[in-house]
């Protein structure tokens, strides 16, 4: 009998141990997965897979970076001398242009002559730059492939253009998303912090027990509403309201996103702040009142300072809630990938970008990896947020 009890104990211990191990492993695996996919972005050429950019063998240019290629194909750069080549005008060529130069008969019914014609083209046009499928290159091609510089971390983080599917070369600059995320979050906090703290103070110090018991479940319910419902609410109510109030062309703006996010961050801020306010010892409040302080003075001079680390935690967790929120923001911010210069223009956040684009990004492609790299940036944001909570907790414990 005693042996059996021991066996059961051993079994329970094993179950507990494996549960915690599985949980930790899952977290670690997710992080590894995120980083593996995301980092891949910086190891690959920004060109679409199976596509190459070629120039004539006589062309001395060997390598270009993404910006230069884009400028060339946008005809902002029209002479090779601008990128370190000979004084020669640039002739743009993509596969679609082939019919401008050769008839359908010349190319053959199933384009079997395409590689030969491409060869002819580069021989006839030494100034040409061609964006073509690597499959259509003839074996003894009279041109050479241009190396394209890999995307640098700085280009990615500080790049101001996000055109993930543009040809011949996509742009993966996430600066607009970083700014968009920060602005939407900041806007949300600007109104969620005062409102949330005021509500918490009301609940902890002012309201009667009955009102508090009524208010508390409502606020907890607010936390349980699915974010898509918030998004829907924002789209139907907030967006038109913002549009009308400010006379805008579109109501899907940073401001609309901020308001919706602010509402979503409220329950976090209110509950944690209220708990913190309630931890203030009765003895301290009594000491203050006994010295002739009013209830309001006691609140401002004793209760709030005592709870300040809890209030900071509430704010930071509110930031965490706002920064990672996806669905509601996706629905109300307009998703324009331009840097927002005010609260009244559309913007796009990091999580909304991932959610909106992951479905259409080909698996394993550069766009796909870029979205994972965005995920890493978001992950770093939330790590910063969470560790500041830990930092504040530790500091207040020492004080």
């Amino acid at each position: 009998m005693k042996k059996f009890k021991k066996l059961v104990e051993y079994f329970v211990e094993a179950v507990l141990f494996s549960s915690s191990t599985i949980t930790s492993l899952t977290v670690i695996l997710i992080v590894i997965f995120l980083f593996r996919e995301g980092i891949g972005m910086f190891n690959s050429s920004p060109l679409e897979q199976n596509f190459v950019i070629v120039v004539s063998q006589k062309n001395p240019v060997q390598e270009l970076n993404a910006t230069q290629i884009k400028a060339i194909f946008n005809q902002d750069i029209v002479n090779w001398s601008a990128v370190g080549g000979a004084k020669d005008s640039i002739i743009l060529f993509t596969t679609n242009d082939i019919t401008n130069y050769y008839s359908e008969e010349e190319l053959g019914s199933s384009l079997e002559n395409l590689p030969a014609k491409l060869n002819d083209f580069i021989l006839e046009n030494p100034g040409a730059i061609m964006y073509i499928s690597s499959k259509s290159l003839p074996p003894n091609f009279a041109g050479h492939k241009l190396a394209v510089k890999k995307i640098g971390v700085a280009d990615f983080v500080f790049g101001e253009q996000w055109y993930p599917t543009s040809e011949p070369i996509p742009s993966y600059g996430i600066w607009p998303m970083i700014i968009g995320t920060l602005m939407v979050t900041l806007g949300a906090l600007l109104f969620a912090i005062p409102l949330g703290i005021a509500t918490a103070i009301f609940m902890a110090e002012v309201a009667s027990m009955r009102i508090r018991n009524l208010l508390k479940p409502i606020i907890e319910l607010l936390a349980g509403i699915p974010s898509v419902v918030f998004g829907f609410f924002g789209l139907i109510i907030i967006v038109p309201l913002v549009q009308k109030t400010f006379g805008l062309v579109v109501g899907e703006t940073v401001l609309a996103g901020s308001i919706v996010l602010g509402i979503m961050a409220l329950p976090t801020i209110i509950t944690i702040t209220e708990d913190a306010l309630r931890t203030t010892p009765q003895a301290l409040k009594e000491a203050s009142l006994a010295l002739g302080a009013t209830r309001w003075q006691t609140l401002v001079r004793v209760v709030v300072p005592y709870a300040k680390s809890g209030i900071s935690t509430a704010i930071i967790l509110g930031i965490g809630r706002a920064i990672g929120e996806t669905m509601a923001v996706l629905m109300v911010t307009g998703n324009s990938s331009n840097i927002p210069h005010s609260f009244l223009v559309p913007a796009r956040t990091i999580p909304a970008t991932i959610a909106a684009e992951l479905g259409e990004a080909p698996y394993g492609g550069l766009h796909f990896k870029a979205l994972f790299a965005l995920g890493i940036v978001l992950f770093i944001f939330t790590i910063i947020v969470n560790s500041s909570v830990e930092f504040i907790k530790n500091r207040s414990r020492r004080a």
Binding site: A287, S288, A290, L291, A293, Q297, R301, V302
Partner: protein
């Protein structure tokens, strides 16, 4: 002359009759000890004098409490103003998590007094009165949480003295302290009674005997006996007082 007085004081917490028709008065510059077993109403009685019981939602008082000839439970009485003239020291040291200086200055600051020189003077005077000045004068900026429990309690006394109260209420001020700190607090009370009227709740009968001029014995909400301390301890009129003081119950 009377500093403070309770007339026909009856207190209820909801249905519970906590104090039954208590009549008691306090002379200026005297120390009165309130004794009695736990739950006898002595703390409730003490807290009547600065309206601390008002914080309890189902508290009800009948009768009158006067301090300085003023009924502090009158309809037009301003609670904050009344509390400014009455100091209170609590059972456990409860300094604010602020500096020593700010703790003492608190009562003045909530009165709107922020003049540096006035504050400096009051802080020094109060800390000297509370016999703490010599120990902390070089560390006034130090957190009040970082000094010892006994020092904290004297700081709380200094904090109460800073607003120049006439009446000081003490709710078992030494019960959480070690014997040496307790002795210091008792000495201090002896000094303070020269300029203040003190009402002190205590569980420690020897302490009541040592420091008080008058003693009131409470039992189950009744004030059983109230007289000179010597008389109470040596020759009480009531048998219940005799039994309590000699340790036969309580």
């Amino acid at each position: 002359m009377i500093q403070a007085e309770a007339k026909n004081a009856n207190v209820w917490y909801g249905d519970f009759h906590a104090l039954k028709n208590v009549n008691m008065s306090f002379e200026p510059s005297s120390v009165t000890a309130l004794i009695g077993p736990s739950g006898c109403g002595k703390s409730t009685f003490l807290r009547l004098f600065n309206r601390m019981n008002d914080l309890i939602s189902n508290f009800k008082l009948e009768g009158s409490i006067t301090v300085d000839g003023q009924n502090i439970y009158a309809k037009d009485a301003k609670i904050d103003e009344i509390r400014k003239t009455i100091g209170m020291v609590f059972q456990k040291p409860n300094p604010f998590p602020k500096s020593i200086y700010e703790n003492v200055a608190y009562g003045l600051r909530v009165n709107g007094i922020n003049d540096r020189r006035t504050l400096d003077e009051v802080v020094e005077r109060s800390l000297k009165q509370a016999a703490l000045w010599e120990e902390v004068k070089d560390n006034l900026k130090k957190s009040a949480m970082a000094i010892s429990g006994g020092q904290q309690q004297r700081l709380c006394i200094a904090r109460a003295l800073a607003v120049e109260p006439k009446l000081i209420l003490m709710d078992e001020p030494a019960s959480a302290l070690d014997p040496i700190s307790t002795a210091k607090i008792e000495e201090l009370i002896f000094e303070l009674k020269k300029s203040f009227t003190i009402i002190i709740v205590t569980h420690n009968l020897q302490q009541a005997g040592r420091i008080s001029d008058y003693t009131g014995f409470f039992y189950l909400g009744d004030l059983i006996e109230h007289d000179h301390t010597q008389k109470m301890f040596l020759n009480p009129a009531q048998e219940r007082t005799q039994n309590y003081i000699t340790g036969r119950f309580g």
